[in-house]
Amino acid sequence: MLNTVFQLRKPRQFEVSFKDITLDSEHIIVRPTYLSICNADQRYYQGKRAESVLKKKLPMALIHEGIGKVIYDPTGTFNIGDEVVMIPNLPIEKDDIIGENYLRTSKFRGSGTDGFLQEYIQTVPDRLVKLPDNINRSVAAFTEIVSVCYHAISRFIKTSNARKDIIGVWGDGNMGFLTSLLLKKMLPKSKIIVFGVNEAKLNDFTFVDQTYLVNAIPDNIRINHAFECVGGNVAPQVINQIIDYIDPEATIAILGVTEDLAPINTRMILEKGLRIIGSSRSGREDFEGLMDLYAKYPDIIQYMENIVGTQVHIRDVKDIVNAFELDINKMLGKTVMIWDE
């Protein structure tokens, strides 16, 4: 079967390509339905990755956040019509110690291998997780980024010390929003303080205990642990500010992606005995854990409805370009592309 693949040929230029799918007894066919644009997709679309990276990875179908409908399942795992979230991480090997998202051999959709911007996705049952009935599809579309936050918090809980009275989250964007929202549920006894640069955005964090602008942080504030959810070229400033305000023997969880190396205050990291844990992507158990969390706290979905941004119906390349351009100019929120049937 000739599957239509919408590949980014070069920055700002999508092109239709076709790849053969052979039907067999092991693979499921999913029709992608709701797809969400991530900043990582935008970095490819706008050509903000290094020239060598673009040369190596393009042409490639973007998008690693999305849901779909099972339309063909010879394995009998799902019913036809089941709505599923698609896991973009594609492990090649199994390891008892290292997580699937950290194995260097793993592939990742929309980064080195084609993403979800395709007519059909052919995959093994293990890469699909059934969505709860009646979930808001536009929210479900960005389950992947939420699973990344879930993964980072789960790692943080395992490695950080027991004093978790006050946790700081730096970042007033989508990642900061989702991380602080999940922290409130996963660590309900902790006080969550969010630090940002945009007061209007911070006003949307109604579920946290406190918000501060980063240039107006009270001197006497104490933070037991922190999450960095900013990334980009200001990441060093953010990390150094965290180092200044954080308790000794604290853990700093870094989630923000930077293109350049970040000069950070290693002297103070040593003096305070800080622990820095990086987290990236997520694996199947994070998606499953997140679904359990949604079931336990249905209001998570309601809060996330507030960050659904522009919803663009797509039929062809022209509509996809339109969605990416609209996404560039957004203030906060996730742009969701909806396939017209």
Binding site: V16, F18, K19, D20, L23, T113, E119, Q122, R315
Partner: protein, 237 residues
């Protein structure tokens, strides 16, 4: 019930022609017709996929379907007719004899040599037919259409903005199509090469579904080259 009708050529004009029909040509390691059937097989809307083949190629078609498709039981291969419309009528006859031909029975008819048909096009064909009664897949004409009634000089140049190029699928309520076809005279049947025209001739509306430029019909070696150029390498699963 909804049926897919894959039109793989009639039996008339090719009789005695030993050349392999174009639907059996290889594209990316598989016969073209297999790619086409696969797009229909994975769509759960279809009760059955009826492939209408020239008589002498039925066994061959059965063999390749069995070879390439794990759930070949959804695919039925029967003999086509002497013309395109007779072929469709053979498909309807099969439905009538083996299932139920009622007012709800829909047939999505598609050229076996258009393997680039998409999920959206098939879905819209079904939806538009349920909503409007019949539909045809088209793309806006890019070349100017020139009419010549005597094949010597131009008799008309129609307004291009009103011209479209017909593709497939073409989708109909099977019972209605059959009734209208049976009401045609033999002369009318002779000149009708297109199923949609059966309806338009009798005053029924046929709605337009947006096709795709790449939903090409592989007719000439040139088309096969174009099809190969559209294909990339196979993907990781």
């Amino acid at each position: 019930m909804i049926f897919g009708l894959i039109l793989a050529g009639g039996k008339g004009t090719r009789m005695g022609n030993v050349e392999k029909p174009k639907q059996f040509m290889d594209l990316c390691g598989k016969p073209i017709i297999v790619h086409t059937i696969e797009k229909f097989v994975i769509n759960s809307s279809f009760e059955k996929i009826i492939v209408l083949s020239p008589k002498q190629w039925i066994k061959h078609t059965q063999d390749i379907v069995k070879k390439y498709l794990p759930n070949a039981d959804k695919v039925i291969i029967i003999e086509g007719g002497s013309t395109r419309n007779e072929t469709i009528m053979n498909g309807i006859k099969y439905i009538e004899e083996n299932y139920i031909l009622d007012d709800e029975t829909i047939i999505v008819t598609h050229d076996s040599v258009r393997p680039f048909v998409t999920h959206r096009i098939i879905e819209e064909n079904i939806n538009y037919t349920q909503k409007y009664g019949a539909c045809d897949t088209v793309i806006p004409a890019t070349d100017t259409i020139v009419e010549s009634c005597n094949n010597e000089y131009i008799t008309d140049i129609p307004d291009r903005s009103k011209m479209y190029q017909g593709q497939t699928p073409q989708t109909f309520y099977a019972k209605r199509l059959k009734e209208l076809y049976m009401s045609l005279t033999e002369e009318e049947k002779e000149v009708l090469t297109d199923a949609s025209k059966i309806l338009t001739l009798k005053g029924d509306k046929v709605y337009l579904v947006d096709g795709e430029v790449y939903n090409i019909k592989i007719t000439y070696p040139y088309d096969l080259r174009v099809a190969q150029a559209l294909l990339g390498s196979s993907d990781i699963k």
